[in-house]
């Protein structure tokens, strides 16, 4: 491997790819009765900004989130709204479907899925 190997984030297309993915992903989440109650906050711009943070992280892009941050961000969802594996699986489905829709190659999709999967225990506060 040379030092110039582009990162996963670069291979996916960087911020432009995230921007293209946000609307598609967010629409899927809002349309899914299994999980849309978690996103019923009316402030759509703020929600979209969070979705962007989520996708940037999953795409291997620049972010300052730690595992502890993931715990704090989702703790109230686990405690008050019963966030569990089934919801996590639904988000994983929408994430991969979004990338397929954007014609991302399967090997990159697998890497994104692996990053998101690695946060499961933090997100579910286990």
């Amino acid at each position: 491997m040379t030092e110039n190997t582009p990162s996963l984030y670069e291979q996916l297309g960087g911020e432009a790819a995230v921007n293209a993915a946000v609307d598609i992903f967010y629409r899927k989440v809002l349309a899914d009765y299994r999980i849309n109650r978690f996103f019923n906050n009316t402030d759509m711009e703020r929600q979209a900004a969070k979705q962007k943070a989520f996708l940037t992280m999953a795409f291997g892009g620049p972010n300052n989130y730690t595992g502890t941050d993931m715990r704090t961000a989702h703790a109230h969802l686990v405690e008050k709204f019963g966030l569990d594996d089934s919801h996590f699986d639904a988000v994983m489905e929408h994430l991969t479907a979004t990338l397929k829709e954007l014609n991302a190659p399967q090997n990159l999709i697998d890497q994104v899925a692996a990053i998101a999967e690695s946060t499961r225990d933090d997100v579910l506060n286990r």
């Binding site: 967010y26 809002l30 759509m44 703020r46 704090t72």
Partner: protein
């Protein structure tokens, strides 16, 4: 992502997770002007003194203000410690009332002559301020063709301090102060081939009328659909004017709607947003303008997004009424 410290005029204030800068400062009895607490009225604008504020706290601000690190305190949930200052006081321009006409039993058409040239985009709003300092946001109802003239549709709210005063006491010949134009819900002449859907309730017609006038003037070539709603027929206005406009421009379509009682011939039955979004199920590549009641705006935004519109193509002004404690 835990507690951060906001420094305001050398005073440190703790900001809890999930608490906005505005709420943190108000909790410490620091007097920051504010209104809607929803990012709509822009009266809580502040300035970050140590670098860029969170991007979502700059929603709806003009580029110049963004670059100068201005932000809306009610939308600012800090991710780091911040030093903040007051937004150097708003620029106000003097204007004289040159017209006052009823549009219907509750809405007034107020026309001002501005002493300076106003550089605005059709659809933006200003703060109108009377002599004692009481100020409220109102949308400009005309196009940019009139550099000195601004008109407004002011709906009277029973017990409303500004609107009752404007209806009852403000007279032709009186002076009033007008802020610089604000907001991002305006017509963009760069994309004349995109269809536009405009939905307004009550005096939400004001900015939409300005946008339509501007779009037709600019030669917008695609479809323009306007849905204006009210509870009853009495709450509508400019029905004849809009019908006449639709007759003159084949690509402009107008549908007045009432949500209560039986709609007479030529008026649709139902809430304006329901009627509009049912009539146009596929909104991919459309531009949307939503103005008026905050519930209507929020519901329509979500629905339009689900029907294919991009978030960045949905422009809106929710007419949040200031809280009763605000001066």
């Amino acid at each position: 992502m835990s507690t951060t410290t906001i420094t305001f005029e050398d005073r440190p204030v703790a900001c809890q997770t999930g608490e906005s800068v505005l709420d943190a400062l108000l909790r410490e009895h620091i007097d920051i002007p504010h209104g809607c607490k929803q990012g709509a009225c822009q009266s809580c604008m502040m300035k970050s003194l140590d670098g860029a504020p969170p991007p979502e706290a700059q929603n709806g601000l003009k580029d110049v203000l963004r670059h100068q690190n201005h932000f809306l305190a009610c939308l600012c949930y800090p991710q780091r410690d911040m030093r903040v200052g007051r937004h150097t006081s708003q620029q106000f321009n003097r204007a004289t009332v040159i017209g006052k006409q009823p549009l219907n039993s509750e809405t007034l058409l107020l026309t001002l002559h501005c002493h300076g040239v106003m550089d605005f985009h059709a659809g933006q709003f200003v703060h109108l301020k009377r002599a004692d300092g009481l100020s409220r946001s109102y949308s400009i109802a005309n196009s940019r063709r009139h550099a000195h003239r601004l008109s407004f549709h002011i709906r009277r709210l029973p017990g409303g301090r500004f609107s009752e005063w404007a209806h009852g006491e403000l007279n032709v010949g009186d002076d009033i102060e007008v802020s610089d134009p604000q907001g991002l819900c305006y017509y963009l002449p760069d994309d004349k081939e995109r269809n536009m859907l405009l939905i307004g309730t009550g005096s939400g017609l004001a900015p939409l009328a300005g946008i339509i006038e501007e779009a037709l003037h600019q030669g917008h070539s695609s479809e323009i659909h306007l849905y204006h709603g009210s509870r009853e027929v009495d709450g509508l206005y400019w029905v004849d004017e809009m019908r006449e406009l639709a007759q003159r421009h084949a690509h402009f379509h107008y549908t007045p709607c009432i949500s209560r009682g039986n709609a007479p011939q030529g008026i649709a039955q139902g809430r304006a947003n329901d009627v509009a979004l049912a009539a146009i199920p596929q909104l991919k590549d459309w531009r949307l303008y939503l103005c008026g009641h905050p519930d209507m705006v929020n519901q329509s935004k979500r629905q339009a997004f689900m029907q294919g519109a991009r978030l960045q193509d949905i422009h809106s002004d929710a007419f949040h009424v200031a809280s009763s404690t605000q001066e």
